[in-house]
Subunit: 200 residues, 2 copies
């Protein structure tokens, strides 16, 4: 999930959601207002008020849109499961990421903490976790079918790896842009996958 | 880190910090006010205003106090490193935890997200991560010295495991009290430690 989903917004609804996404990345949730989204949505700020009553309505729809897009993009059978897996980890584990990705990671964490007290946010993040776990399980199953990965409990591995990556998100969002632990986590995750998932 | 640090507060300062801790657990950071802490601090609410100017000053000192206590409790050489390690994981990975622990986990996550925009909170959580990584490294080194653990990059393993546990915190704070993925994470973390750390 990231900015790419909003690169070419189709129609007014997607344009408003893209404006919400960009405003969120720049100001964070706490400082988000419908009026700021209206400013970002240059076409016609009043249209935002016309379609949405609260900032949460916009943010929740924006989250749902990204989850739908990610879910839609993923397929059951994967051609190069190990490359896809490494790509997925890399998005969170790379050093020297651009400021926009760093902001997006911090934003996802900020929105996720709303879920501890708000049922609507909780529902979105439960779904997002399910979609991501399913994506990881599919990659693992494809690797096993191709003989590239060992037989393993794919759902269990997916839940574990997603949890580690969730930890990376929380730590990254609250540390400097290139923390020392990042290289350690990358190396040890690789060692774990060598031991439990990848065939020699 | 948890309620135990505030069980027997010593002197006015610790009593005020204990009141801050209990108010935080009950109301969360967003709804915290000095006046609520004053109500919890039955002895003399006005003393809280006398000593502290803002709620952040209180919360930051409360965090620092817990980190100091945890750091103070840990020792270099550990008698039963595997048991200590499992105890440490268990605190976060157990099912059916009491509401207070669940609230405390959600609170730590809520405070941690403040660190993405506030340097003072960032400093506390950087230190807390350092203290916890050092604790884990010490356990691993003790296990290696005793011949119970394999030779491994202890700092790397510590950083990785702490990241996974940080992910458990964020996921637990935003899911139901006994999510299905918890058992998966527990089992796969155990498998990882069998493969990389524990000797048969």
């Amino acid at each position: 999930m990231s900015a790419e989903f909003f690169e070419d917004p189709d129609g007014t609804r997607e344009q408003i959601l893209a404006a919400t996404y960009h405003t969120l990345c720049e100001h964070g949730y706490a400082d988000l207002t419908i009026s700021r989204i209206g400013e970002e949505f240059e076409k016609s700020p009043s249209l935002v008020y016309h379609h949405y009553e609260s900032k949460d309505e916009l943010v929740l729809e924006c989250l749902e849109f990204m989850i739908d897009r990610f879910e839609h993009r993923t397929t059951d059978d994967v051609d190069q499961p190990r490359e896809r897996l490494e790509e997925f980890f890399g998005w969170l584990l790379e050093s020297n990421i651009e400021v926009e990705r760093q902001q997006f990671i911090a934003l996802l964490v900020e929105l996720r903490t709303l879920a501890s007290r708000d049922e609507s946010y909780r529902r979105q993040f439960l779904r997002s976790d399910q979609v991501l776990e399913r994506y990881l399980s599919n990659l693992l199953n494809s690797g096993i079918e191709r003989g590239e990965f060992r037989e393993c409990e794919t759902e269990q591995v997916a839940a574990y790896v997603l949890t580690t990556l969730t930890g990376v998100m929380l730590r990254r969002s609250t540390h400097d842009i290139d923390p020392a632990w990042l290289e350690d986590v990358r190396a040890e995750l690789e060692a774990y996958l060598e031991a439990r998932v990848y065939r020699e």
